[in-house]
């Protein structure tokens, strides 16, 4: 029985550490994505479609690298939703459709904002 308390402490400490690290990781990566989205939004508003295309390609590549790591931490349907929105956004930008591009950019922005919030340890999320 001597090992019970240390074992409980180690497991709880491990869960807390993993949670803090996971939250920080999700927060910083989603902020980076949102910064890029804001830049793309400016390009779309100013009609700089080539620059917007380059940026969305970069964002897509980064997302493809990161989403497998996110899959460990968040629900998979949220990743699927981001995949779908990103695919729509790409096609709207490639067809120079300003209104739809802006709408999808906002949606993507909200989704990236929502993920760290949904993983944050607050009473609202527990209950």
């Amino acid at each position: 029985m001597k090992y019970v308390l240390p074992l409980i402490t180690i497991i709880v400490a491990l869960i807390i550490l993993i949670d803090i690290a996971a939250y920080n990781y999700l927060n910083t990566t989603s902020q980076n994505f949102n910064n890029t989205i804001i830049k793309i939004e400016k390009d779309v508003n100013n009609g700089k479609w080539d620059s917007a295309k380059n940026k969305i390609e970069k964002l897509d590549k980064t997302w493809n690298k990161i989403n497998s790591k996110w899959a460990i931490l968040i629900e998979h349907n949220e990743i699927d939703e981001i995949d779908i929105t990103l695919a729509k956004l790409k096609s709207y930008i490639y067809t120079n459709n300003k209104n739809f591009s802006l709408a999808e950019l906002k949606t993507l922005n909200e989704k990236f904002k929502h993920i760290p919030v949904s993983e944050k340890l607050i009473l609202e999320n527990i209950l």
Binding site: I15, D19, E75, S118, L121, N125, I126, L127
Partner: protein, 224 residues
């Protein structure tokens, strides 16, 4: 991760409290309606524990509802004999005066192999030794052996053994149980004297000390 950790903790302690309120019977001894509640609670808890999308309340409310229903059914079955037989069923006599009642076996969907197995578990490998076998409402088989096959009692030998009361634990895990000292009507000096006889220097070395009705202390010390 910590969200799931806390949700699991909340639900776990809630189920422990609910189970404590619902009664002391073990899973194998549950009545059908209690068994159903235990199964449903296990299933209800698992989903909100892991799915953060579901509000915790939608897990808590059904558990509380089940607890209330279970308490209601157990209250009714306690108050009314007729309801008790409806809710819990009635015991079925499978062997009566040494004869197997096949109609009852069929009604309870109990085959001869099940009966023999349960009799063996109860310590009666030979069915001929059994006078009565009763299938209780919680699924246990009670066996009453023939008079010639039952164990001998002191009464059979015309013996009158001394009264045996309940031994009281006085020290558990190095801690004196004050309530039992009062019940046993002994003082601490007497306890210390008896502990000295057992060569106990520190009370913390005692894992269990129990006092029998003749005020004799038995001490079990911790391994060194």
């Amino acid at each position: 991760m910590l969200i799931i950790f806390f949700r699991t903790l909340i639900l776990y302690f809630m189920v422990v409290v609910v189970m404590r309120i619902m009664g002391k019977q073990q899973i194998g001894q549950l009545q059908p309606y209690e068994f159903v509640v235990a199964l449903m609670i296990a299933d209800l808890v698992a989903v909100p524990m892991q799915n953060k999308g579901i509000p915790l309340l939608s897990g808590i409310i059904p558990i509380l509802t089940l607890m209330v229903s279970q308490l209601f059914l157990s209250y009714i079955s306690m108050k009314s004999l007729r309801c008790r037989s409806l809710i819990c069923g009635t015991p079925a006599i499978l062997i009566k005066k040494g004869k197997i009642i096949t109609s009852q076996l069929q009604q309870e969907r109990y085959n001869i192999n099940d009966l023999l197995e349960e009799l063996r578990v109860a310590g009666y490998p030979n069915i001929a030794d059994v006078e009565y076998a009763i299938l209780e409402t919680n699924g246990n088989l009670s066996v009453i052996p023939k008079v010639t096959k039952r164990p001998v009692n002191p009464e059979d030998l015309n013996l009158s053994p001394q009264y045996e009361g309940l031994p009281l634990p006085i020290i558990i895990d190095g801690q004196i149980i004050e309530k039992n000292i009062k019940d046993a009507n002994i003082d601490l000096n007497m306890l210390n004297d008896q502990l000295k006889m057992w060569k106990v220097d520190d009370i913390k070395d005692v894992i269990l000390a129990s006092l029998d009705p003749n005020n004799i202390l038995t001490v079990y010390k911790r391994e060194e």
